[in-house]
């Protein structure tokens, strides 16, 4: 319990530091928001009035606190370009991106874990070797290219789905998820191949350890040794990889959304970067940072749950 509290405290501290760095960085690069909003032709009086309204006349620490507390409440300011609140711009899109990332993650586990186990179990067999060669190839395919291939093969070739026929989750959740399956596969495949390889290697390493021999000496069959002892031990090195994968899945989602015309945060993020619409960019980056930092906390807690050797210090 002390371990969890300590990790949570570290996480919150990390969040504060990251948010401060992001805030300061965006202050430095974004220049004067009032000029952005009113344009360069605005009179000095109107600019001063808007600055006061936005709190820009306050010192930096005060502005940071205002921004942070507002962000925590879900208020990330107003877009320079669309002149509406950032939260209303993002609220419909964020769930789409996160759903795609989450589905990719689940698919990665559903493909990678059983494949790693099967390959370790039949290590050295022709099937194992074939899968490992295929893995090597799949690992090298970037998600956007896999997306294009899948869209072409399953969409235009086999007509299993309609490219561009996106259905909003507000219309129908099952059809929304159905549309996400193919893009999710494109994101998940390379990571699943890596996961399979990692788990296979980790399992084989554990199988060579003394406790595995002990487990056999008690009359376990292969599955008994594998599922009763090796898997949990072999899973520990995979856990860090799984945690990092969530970040990768998010990045993959941003790219693959473009290929499959999915209205996630990708399009607005790219547009906002192009338009120098800093409030939108800052909010999006901040969201991703918060997500990744919390995933790390979750991984740390899972380590503690799985491994009794991690001390309470």
């Amino acid at each position: 319990m002390r371990y969890v509290l300590k990790k949570t405290a570290t996480t919150l501290a990390t969040l504060l530091v990251v948010s401060l760095l992001l805030f300061v960085a965006f202050q430095l690069i974004s220049g004067d928001p009032a000029t952005h909003i009113l344009g360069t032709g605005a009179t000095p009086e109107r600019l001063a009035a808007l600055r006061a309204e936005l709190g820009l006349d306050q010192p930096l620490p005060a502005r940071y606190l205002m921004w942070l507390t507002a962000f925590a409440r879900g208020d990330a300011g107003v877009s320079y370009v669309y002149h509406q609140s950032v939260s209303s711009l993002l609220s419909a899109k964020v769930p789409v991106t996160f759903a795609l990332a989450a589905m990719s993650f689940v698919l990665m586990c559903a493909i990678g874990l059983p494949m790693g186990i099967a390959c370790a179990k039949h290590a050295g067999s022709p099937i194992d070797r074939a899968v490992m060669v295929a893995n090597q190839i799949i690992m090298a395919i970037p998600p956007f290219f896999a997306g294009i291939l899948i869209s072409w093969a399953f969409g235009m070739g086999l007509h299993l789905f309609t490219p561009g026929g996106y259905v909003s989750y507000e219309t129908s959740v099952p059809r929304f998820l159905g549309y996400l399956v193919f893009p999710a596969v494109a994101i998940a495949l390379p990571r699943a191949a890596q996961l399979a390889k990692l788990l296979r290697g980790s399992l084989l390493e554990e199988a060579g350890k003394n406790y595995a021999r002990t487990a056999y000496s008690r009359g376990n069959n292969t599955n008994g040794v594998l599922y009763g002892h090796l898997l949990k031990n072999a899973f520990l090195p995979a856990l860090t990889f799984l945690g990092m994968s969530l970040g990768t899945m998010l990045a993959g989602s941003l790219v693959v959304e473009r290929v499959f015309n999915i209205p996630g945060i990708s399009s607005i993020l790219l547009a906002s970067i192009g338009n120098r619409d800093y409030p939108v960019v800052l909010a999006t980056v901040m969201l991703i940072a918060v997500f990744i930092i919390f995933v790390n906390l979750l991984v740390d807690i899972l380590y503690k749950v799985l491994d009794p050797r991690i001390d309470e210090e």
Partner: protein, 272 residues
């Protein structure tokens, strides 16, 4: 101490012309050349011999832990009318951990680091005695742990391996190996990794298990004085063959083979 009176003549395990040869490195490597021996019911058989003489390979062969894919196996290991060297995997598993158990040289790494001690001690019962309830298994495990000299077995039951010393882990290994009261216990250098005091305690424990349960023990060691103290009979191995076998007295007081003589000469005289 019961001593030699425990030895009955009934053989419980017979090894005939055991030959184990590795074939996975291109050039063949003979681990055991031609070994025949008999283990009697309730006896402690010492196996000594220089490094690489094939002691561990023989032990693993009896315990059914050889990687058969990497080996050419010749001869037979008869237990209960079954040839353990060539029988099917499931027949082998039927005996492993129930009739034939093994403890190893490395107590620090022989336990699953992520599983509680109790689960590991009970494992043989979970596999072989499904008729037992969870409570009965726990009771048997705690009894075995107490018998193996673990103070407060109820507490150790819920602990993890990293919380125990090497000596305690070896006691846990012994408890797990004896929980189903096997007929044969194979101990491959079980005290090599332990300090002298703990070593003496483990030896006393093995003697006690042999005396009380009549468990036959194959005791492999480099320490001839330990073998002399503990074992009823001894075989001396060299380069994959048994060069000498007999009762401890015969072998140690009156070695016939020059190699045995050289081993015996190396023991401090006070022990003999």
């Amino acid at each position: 101490m019961h001593g030699d009176s425990v030895i009955a003549d009934a053989p419980i395990l017979q090894i005939r012309n055991l030959r184990l040869e590795f074939h996975d490195h291109g050039h063949p490597e003979v681990a055991v050349e031609d070994l025949s021996l008999t283990l009697h019911r309730g006896e402690i058989l010492g196996v000594v011999g220089e490094s690489g003489s094939g002691k561990s390979m023989t032990a693993l062969a009896i315990a059914g832990l050889l990687n058969r894919h990497a080996l050419d196996c010749g001869g037979e290991i008869l237990f209960d009318g079954v040839d353990l060297l060539h029988c099917g995997r499931s027949t082998l598993r039927h005996y492993q951990g129930d009739e034939i158990s093994m403890i190893f040289q490395e107590p620090m790494t022989s336990l699953d680091p992520l599983q509680r001690i109790g689960m590991q001690v009970e494992e043989a019962l979970r596999i072989h005695h499904k008729e037992l309830s969870a409570a009965e298994r726990k009771e048997a495990a705690i009894r075995a742990m107490g018998a193996a000299g673990l103070a407060e077995p109820e507490q150790v039951y819920g602990m993890y391996p990293h919380e125990l010393s090497g000596g305690m882990r070896q006691r846990v290994m012994i408890a797990a190996a004896t929980v189903s009261r096997p007929q044969i216990l194979i101990a491959d250098e079980p005290t090599t990794a332990l300090d002298v005091t703990t070593q003496a305690q483990i030896i006393a424990l093995l003697r006690q298990i042999n005396a009380e349960d009549g468990t036959a023990i194959v005791f492999i060691s480099h320490d001839l004085s330990l073998v002399r103290q503990l074992c009823h009979r001894v075989i001396v191995m060299r380069r994959g063959v048994a060069v000498e076998m007999g009762t401890s007295d015969e072998v140690f007081l009156n070695p016939r083979h020059a190699y045995t003589q050289s081993l015996v000469d190396a023991i401090p005289k006070v022990v003999l």
